[in-house]
């Protein structure tokens, strides 16, 4: 079965947006050059331009929509290899793919240290960065990592900023470089050899149970809730 992304609007994932905010905070606090990079068709250009409007210095689009995160990671790592960088920041999970794997696989391709679910970044100086990260289940770690490093930033309560309309108009005029497979030093055959997963079916989640919609006045809804609770206990 073919899956089309035509009907989906391209939005930056909330967790990626938190990563961008962290990058912009580092730029503001210690001085940094921020480059935004994504893998996608020309439709994803809007996301990059929004990022420029928010304060990123440059943007790169690696051409081609990709459904297999294994391939996305490979392409991204090849692209990032061409750049000079100290930190790679990403979100924790994309809304569409929900696999959480691309970031860490990029780090592994680049042989860079990585941390997932990062909640605080503190450049410690002398080529290292100190971070706080979640381990899940209410556990936390503080790590010191050699740079360059990859940090998958947890979506937190940090506030998201919105670009001013004028900046957005300005950014939309900026051409975004698009890198082809050849630019990454790869061929379609290289990719085909790596393509080992295939979506065979995709369907709306079955509600596992009949949904009991409660309607009426607040009074009626509250009564129904309490009787459902009584039945369940």
């Amino acid at each position: 079965m073919e899956v089309s992304v035509e009907t989906l609007s391209m939005i930056i994932n909330e967790s990626d947006e938190h990563a961008l905010e962290q990058a912009l905070a580092l730029k503001k606090n210690i001085g940094a050059t921020v480059t935004v990079i994504t893998v996608g068709s020309v439709k994803s250009q809007d996301v990059l331009q929004r990022s420029l409007a928010k304060g990123a210095d440059g943007a790169i689009r690696v051409d081609g929509d990709e459904f297999d995160p294994n391939i996305t990671a490979l392409k991204l790592s090849r692209a990032i290899q061409r750049l000079n960088y100290d930190l790679i920041l990403t979100g924790v999970e994309s809304l569409d793919g929900m696999s959480s794997q691309v970031a860490i696989s990029v780090a592994a391709h680049l042989q860079a240290p990585f941390a997932y679910a990062v909640t605080r970044i503190d450049p410690a100086g002398s080529g290292t960065v100190r971070i706080d990260r979640e381990l899940g289940g209410g556990r936390y770690q503080t790590l010191e990592m050699a740079m360059p490093a990859l940090l998958s930033v947890q979506s937190g309560s940090g506030t998201l900023t919105y670009p001013a309309a004028a900046k957005l108009v300005q950014a939309r005029r900026r051409p975004i470089p698009s890198w082809s497979l050849a630019d990454l030093g790869m061929s379609q055959d290289d990719l085909a050899a790596q393509r080992r997963t295939r979506i065979v079916d995709i369907r709306p989640r079955d509600s596992r149970h009949e949904m009991d919609w409660l309607t009426g006045t607040a009074e009626e809804i509250a009564d129904r809730i309490l009787s459902r609770i009584d039945e369940a206990l």
């Binding site: 809304l95 929900m98 959480s100 592994a108 899940g136 770690q141 790590l143 947890q154 997963t197 949904m211």
Partner: protein
């Protein structure tokens, strides 16, 4: 010591996370179908209790244990190298890990190192002629995709905590292998400190959980929800935003970053239902949701719900549950 299926055990504070047993249960039918051996790889320090637990119950054919002080605390750069080395010796076709924060790191880093295909966050796995079929959520959990993954190269799967599997396992004759792995030079990461969960309050034992989310916009509003939880004989819990704001401590956080709860009743008030939250409450017996957005993902998982402003229902619900307690002559907190 070739073994076709390897489960990477999930351990927290020296204890086996029960999701490891789910991973074994997912692996066993595949092992049966393909006539393969199944093993568990466990890393840590002072592993004897865990080894006894796993080998003693005879759940798997092989137990690969790496017991060394270097693995007492989780450090991705140390763990991944060691696991990759072990995998290169064991040469499995299929590797299963938990879709936890550490499991994600291990699997996603192993994939390029082993030239393996990774399919993450899966809800089920079965054997297919030329590989495996898995199911997983996509598009904000509104869709379920079935993915075929070819068995030409090693396959890595991370299994979601949401997956439910019957843990009925055949008894196997378990062989223990203690692996000595060479140290891998200097680690790129130094663990400065690791904190255990505070667990001053254990919300996992409650029969009723009253959970609040992003719709709550002022700390002062929390008291009424606390009163409701107490009037219902339950506990208060929250999704990430409330904990990040410091309005409740992390003991109360439900989801991947916090705890998993399976109460008789889960009342989700003003929670939209991010995938990270759903994982922590999806197995509750009865899920009741109130949210003003009819398209919120939480309604995909709720058994019973109302599209309404939480703050219109809350006062009525609170008053009624308190007066009910008075009628019964029971105190607020049971």
């Amino acid at each position: 010591m070739h073994c076709e299926i390897v489960i990477v055990a999930e351990c927290n504070e020296g204890e086996l996370d029960p999701i490891t047993l789910d991973l074994i249960a997912w692996g066993c039918p595949v092992a049966q179908e393909k006539d393969w051996a199944i093993g568990v790889l466990v890393l840590g320090f002072g592993l004897d209790p865990i080894i006894q637990q796993l080998a003693g119950q005879g759940m798997v054919d092989h137990l690969f244990a790496v017991d060394n002080p270097r693995f007492e605390t989780y450090n991705s750069s140390v763990y991944v190298n060691a696991i990759a080395n072990a995998i290169r010796e064991i040469k499995p076709e299929l590797i299963l890990t938990a879709h936890s924060y550490t499991g994600i790191e291990i699997a996603a880093a192993l994939a390029p190192l082993l030239n393996a295909s990774l399919v993450a966050n899966c809800h089920s796995i079965e054997a297919a002629d030329d590989g495996f079929l898995v199911t997983r959520s996509m598009f904000a959990a509104k869709f379920v995709a079935t993915i075929a993954v070819a068995g030409t190269h090693p396959v890595l799967i991370t299994m979601s905590r949401e997956s439910s599997v019957v843990r009925s396992l055949a008894t196997r004759n378990c062989q223990l292998h203690r692996l000595q792995l060479p140290s891998h030079g200097e680690a790129q990461i130094t663990v400065v400190s690791t904190s255990a969960p505070s667990r001053t309050e254990d919300i996992t034992k409650a029969k009723i959980v009253v959970a609040i989310g992003r719709a709550i916009s002022h700390e002062s509003q929390i008291e009424s929800f606390r009163q409701l939880a107490s009037a219902l004989g339950g506990v208060i819990a929250a999704s990430r935003p409330i904990v990040d704001l410091g309005w409740l401590n992390s003991d109360h956080q439900v989801g991947l970053s916090g705890v998993t709860v399976k109460p008789k009743v889960y009342l989700a008030l003003g929670i939209s239902g991010s995938a990270q939250h759903i994982v922590g409450m999806n197995q509750s017996r009865l899920i009741i949701a109130i949210n003003n957005d009819a398209s919120a993902p939480i309604f995909q998982f709720a058994h019973c719900g109302a599209v309404a402003d939480v703050f219109e229902i809350l006062p009525v619900l609170l008053e009624k549950s308190m007066s009910k307690n008075l009628d019964r002559g029971t105190g607020p907190a049971r």
